[in-house]
């Protein structure tokens, strides 16, 4: 016998699993600290790659100048100056990524709590139905 409440609840949960729940369940499979650390590492990788691209472009752009003054250029001071920009960019970008990851995890955790509570309700409904049968 079909139970109306059960079908409605299962439909809502299935719809959640298919939509936002897919992402939330993926996020929820990590501990909070692991998820945030993974996001920070990804962010550090992304900003490093972007910085390397930028550096490559800068060198290519000024290639003639570099080659003509190759023996007079103070490479250490240039690297220091690039390093300074890199560290600033890294701190800002990682900070933003940390915030985004923290907010995303909190939203996912809150939705998953509701989802799990619905699972419990569903289990109770099943038990009630079994007893009545």
């Amino acid at each position: 016998m079909l139970d109306r409440d059960k079908v409605i609840m299962m439909t809502r949960m299935s719809s959640y699993e298919k939509g936002k729940g897919k992402e939330h369940l993926r996020i929820g499979s990590f501990f909070r600290s692991d998820y945030i650390w993974a996001s920070i590492l990804k962010a550090a990788f992304a900003i490093t790659v972007a910085f390397v691209f930028g550096l490559a472009l800068y060198i290519y752009y000024n290639f003639d100048e570099f080659m003509s003054n190759i023996y007079e250029i103070d490479i250490i001071s240039i690297l220091k100056s690039f390093g300074k920009y890199y560290v600033i960019a890294l701190i800002v970008y990682v900070g933003i990524s940390y915030l985004v990851a923290f907010i995303k995890y909190s939203i996912a955790a809150s939705n998953l709590r509701k989802y799990k509570s619905n699972l419990k309700k569903l289990r109770k409904l099943y038990k009630t139905n079994e007893k009545s049968v």
């Binding site: 299962m10 992304a46 691209f53 290519y60 099943y126």
Partner: protein
């Protein structure tokens, strides 16, 4: 106004009924417009500048995720750039990669915004975007919008210098790069537009969410004013040469777009019909869940009383005589419910009753059809 509400209801009913066809069709149209615009504006690689290829790619986009429109647009533009010069294509790949790695990975779902922004900028309608997105989207869209603006200015610079670059030999690749980078860095308008769009979006977004009366109207008005002021200040500081007649005209359009969205806001919850499948120990369930349309209840009651010929009594569900003998009417209503000519009575409980007051299960469907 009543007619407008009726049209709105019909549009929404139609959308929910045929969303399985409407969504792919809209994606197909969007993909075709984007790809055709890329081809017509760049067009260096004549082999892909072909309407059949555009249609095939658009058809693929229609049943793939919406992000694929951006992927195809990026591929098309890179192929054109590659045909122009290897170094331009390399710069394009670097730019797209950096945009993706740094920004777009935060809002992968708004990739369509990145594809649409350059198109709107080409059509000189970009100022509609922050208003419309501020009313409908989340702040993640600002990133997508900014990426779209950067892509537009990059493609604009490539187009502007295409003739010069095409005549330069590959040995002068460094000079080609210099021309492009110098032009991009000299383009102050890009920064101004990005700042104006982000500020406008945030103003519209936060005002729209305020729990005050007429928040949508306030958000639209404030958004337009902030957009104009931000662009004006930017123009004064950086002398970007933005056309203010265009800004004013497009702002009027943005207000109109905002009010159209407001008109639909109570009905369109952007939850489409869901087809879900699950199972338990006894059954397999294939459920189609159709979101309810929460139209404001009509306060209109039509009372048209004519002389009755036959003299017949109509009862509602609780057996009360709703109809005084000796009168004939086409439609009759009182505080208990609504009578229609087809014999169904809609009670105050929202259910439908036949003339004899009995509840009828299928009358709701019949009545609506």
């Amino acid at each position: 106004m009543k007619n407008l509400y009726e049209i709105r209801e019909k549009v929404i009913q139609l959308y929910y009924k045929y969303d399985a066809f409407i969504v792919p069709a809209l994606k197909l149209i969007a993909a075709f417009i984007v790809l055709h615009t890329v081809n017509s504006r760049m067009g260096y690689f004549t082999k892909i500048d072909n309407i059949v290829i555009e249609l095939v790619a658009s058809l693929l986009c229609s049943f793939l995720p919406s992000g694929m429109i951006l992927v195809f647009a990026g591929l098309f533009s890179l192929l054109h750039m590659y045909h122009l010069s290897l170094i331009v294509a390399a710069l394009g790949v670097l730019l797209y990669l950096v945009l993706y790695l740094l920004f777009l990975r935060f809002s992968p779902k708004s990739s369509l915004v990145v594809a649409i922004t350059p198109i709107l900028m080409l059509w000189k309608l970009p100022y509609v975007l922050p208003i419309v997105l501020g009313l409908t989207a989340t702040p993640g869209c600002t990133v997508a919008m900014a990426c779209g603006v950067v892509a537009y200015y990059f493609l604009k610079v490539v187009n502007a210098n295409s003739a010069t670059i095409a005549n330069m030999p590959i040995a002068e690749a460094a000079d080609q790069l210099k021309i492009l980078i110098d032009d991009i860095l000299a383009n102050k308008g890009m920064i101004i537009v990005i700042i104006a769009f982000v500020v406008t979006f945030l103003v519209v977004y936060f005002l729209r969410r305020l729990p005050i009366k007429r928040n949508w109207e306030i958000a639209i008005g404030a958004g337009v004013v902030v957009d104009i002021i931000a662009l004006l200040i930017g123009d004064v500081i950086m002398d970007t040469g933005i056309s203010f007649i265009n800004i004013i005209l497009v702002s009027v359009l943005a207000v109109a777009a905002g009010f159209v969205l407001k008109f639909f806001k109570y009905c369109v919850d952007f939850n489409r019909t869901e087809n879900v499948q699950f199972e338990d120990d006894d059954y397999y369930y294939y459920v189609k869940a159709v979101p309810k349309i929460s139209l404001g209840e009509s306060a209109q009651r039509v009372r048209q009383i004519n002389r009755r010929k036959g003299g017949k009594s109509f009862m509602n569900g609780s057996g009360e005589d709703l109809y005084a003998e000796g009168y004939d009417d086409l439609e009759y209503a009182d505080e208990n419910g609504y009578f229609s000519e087809d014999g169904y009575y809609e009670g105050s409980d929202g259910e439908y009753y036949e003339e004899n007051g009995e509840y009828t299960e299928n009358s709701s469907e019949d009545y609506r059809e």
